[in-house]
């Protein structure tokens, strides 16, 4: 391991033109100051045919757009894109430039050698003299470094970038110095205001509250909320409200959960500290409370993306997941879900762990208002398939619940339910009675990329607008 003081020193050590398959993690989210600094070097050295492997792309990662405009990027492999890069790719992206993976699928592809990375550039909030790194301390702390672990173990060259070099041993090391080739000191790797995502508040919107209450009652009716159950809800307002509703039920019935997984918020930490859940398996912290909890709660455990959701990892946590609550931009009559493009066909997100958790959890539930603005959430066919319908079990809206006909067991369990159980066709009809039938949006025939599931199957294509 070699200590360097700038990126210029680094590129005297290694030939930038020979190392253009490069990866980044997105734990610093919109506050990341590393990716633009590194890509600026690739820009000024006029490196061509770059293969980019960021785990996600946020609006502030503007150098990616610059490199696209100069045609310096041959391919992008990522799990989520929002902001200017998404708009650019949807409107002007060249053919077959993009592969959209899942969090588990990305880790799998790196570990199995399908994604070959020359240099992993890893923003590291705290690094010690051995090159060990953690994410939950330092001026740019972000919590778990789960999405960077496979990169640190399998990239040809591993470079940590840090603004906090310390002379101490770490508890629960996330990135091991034995895998690290260079540590580069930078003035600043992150902007704290952009690192934590803005709002992870429980919804108070009456429609959201109604959906959450119906969801909690449904989960009680199908008898999955019992001692030792496991659960993932993410940080969406409705999902968090479902968790809050379940908390009441758990207290009344004296139930404790075995684990919660995925993205962790202060609300999940509260449940751990109140003794309602035994363990938090954390691949990504959403707020400061969650970040700081990693320093004090032994049972709040940072995990790698592979341990989280790689189907080939024998320790995969979500294999034991009972229930996952997920969102949707669109869902169709076959229960296929889109969270990748908006209803105009423009990229605005991606799977993240959507397809991973839906595939593994015993019950996967989509929570959504029946229409957003004037757009019905249910369509005959989704614009883009992010998660295959065979993995989606239930849709809960404010006007009723639809169960995937493939889940005869759940339909059977709900026979006596007082909830409004309908078919998805009935909910579709109800929605368009209010909104009218939306005209199909137009798109070109130029294919810019593919949706690659965690199985490596290509489950859909992305087109230029």
């Amino acid at each position: 391991m070699k200590l360097l003081n700038s990126l210029d020193e680094l590129f005297k050590e290694i030939d930038i033109h020979q190392n253009k398959a490069i990866s980044f993690h997105h734990h610093l989210r919109n506050g990341d100051l590393v990716i633009n600094q590194v890509l600026e070097k690739y820009h000024s050295h006029h490196v061509q045919e770059i293969a980019l492997f960021p785990s996600a792309i946020f609006p502030s990662y503007q150098m990616i757009k610059r490199l696209l405009e100069q045609d310096q990027i041959a391919h992008i492999t990522t799990n989520y894109i929002s902001g200017g890069v998404a708009d650019y790719l949807s409107n002007q992206g060249k053919e077959n430039i993009l592969t959209m993976q899942t969090h588990g699928g990305r880790a799998r592809a790196i570990i199995e050698g399908k994604s070959k990375i020359d240099i992993a550039f890893i923003a590291a909030p705290s690094v010690n003299y051995k090159g060990d790194a953690i994410g939950y301390k330092g001026p740019s702390k972000c919590g778990s470094l789960g999405y960077a672990i496979a990169d640190s173990e399998y990239a040809k060259i591993v470079v940590l970038l840090t603004d906090h070099l310390v002379d101490e041993e770490f508890d629960r090391v996330e990135i091991h110095g034995s895998n690290v080739d260079y540590v580069v000191s930078l003035d600043k790797i992150g902007d704290p205001s952009g690192i934590v995502s803005g709002t992870t508040n429980i919804t108070t919107n009456p429609i959201g509250v109604k959906i959450a209450k119906q969801t909690a009652r449904f989960l009680e009716d199908i008898d999955v909320i019992k001692d030792g159950f496991s659960f993932q809800s993410g940080a969406g307002g409705i999902s968090l409200k479902v968790t809050a509703e379940l908390e009441n039920y758990m207290k009344i019935k004296q139930i404790t959960a075995s684990f919660f997984s995925g993205g962790i918020t202060g609300y999940h930490v509260g449940l751990l500290e109140r003794g309602l859940v035994d363990k938090l398996y954390d691949v990504q912290c959403f707020d400061l409370t969650a970040i700081d909890s990693l320093s004090r709660n032994k049972n709040h455990i940072p995990i790698s993306a592979s341990k989280y959701a790689n189907p080939a990892d024998i320790d995969q946590v979500i294999k034991d997941l009972d229930v996952v609550i997920l969102g949707a931009t669109e869902i169709d009559l076959d229960f296929n879900v889109n969270v990748t493009t908006d209803s105009h066909g423009i990229i605005m997100g991606g799977s993240g762990g959507h397809s991973d958790t839906a595939s593994e959890a015993k019950v996967s539930v989509i929570v959504s208002p029946l229409f957003k603005g004037r757009l019905p959430i249910i369509k005959k066919h989704v614009t883009t398939i992010t998660t295959l319908g065979k993995h989606i079990d239930v849709l809960v809206t404010e006007r009723g619940i639809a169960i995937n006909p493939l889940r005869k067991d759940l339909l059977e369990k709900c026979k006596q339910s007082l909830l409004k159980i309908k078919t998805i066709e009935e909910l579709y009809q109800e929605a368009i009675n209010y909104t009218g039938i939306p005209k199909d949006v137009t798109r070109s025939d130029v294919q810019i990329g593919v949706i690659e599931d965690r199985t490596y199957d290509k489950i859909d294509r992305l087109y230029r607008k």
């Binding site: 957003k372 603005g373 004037r374 757009l375 209010y434 909104t435 939306p438 005209k439 949006v441």
Partner: protein, 84 residues
């Protein structure tokens, strides 16, 4: 000029101005999906009030038909048009 409605999500804003012919202008976040339907609601409502000459601008944030119709009716009545 008469203005009704808001630019909140799921609402729309209607503006009426004097004109010697009927002119309808629509700006909508769901124009691609619902532009024709929004035009029909505006046109039908103007017909119901027998308004032949007006400049009508609708800035839509995803309102449902009955919201659009209510905002336009309110504007027409403030404009001083009697219900036909």
């Amino acid at each position: 000029m008469i203005k009704t409605g808001t630019l909140e999500s799921s609402d729309c804003m209607i503006e009426l101005r004097e004109s010697n012919e009927r002119k309808i202008e629509i700006e909508s976040i769901v124009f691609e999906q619902f532009g024709d339907q929004i035009y029909d609601v505006l046109k039908t409502t103007l017909d119901e009030y027998h308004v032949k000459a007006v400049f009508l601008r609708c800035i839509d944030k995803g309102a449902l038909d009955y919201t659009i119709k209510a905002r336009l009716k309110a504007a027409l009545e403030l404009w001083g048009v009697d219900h036909g």
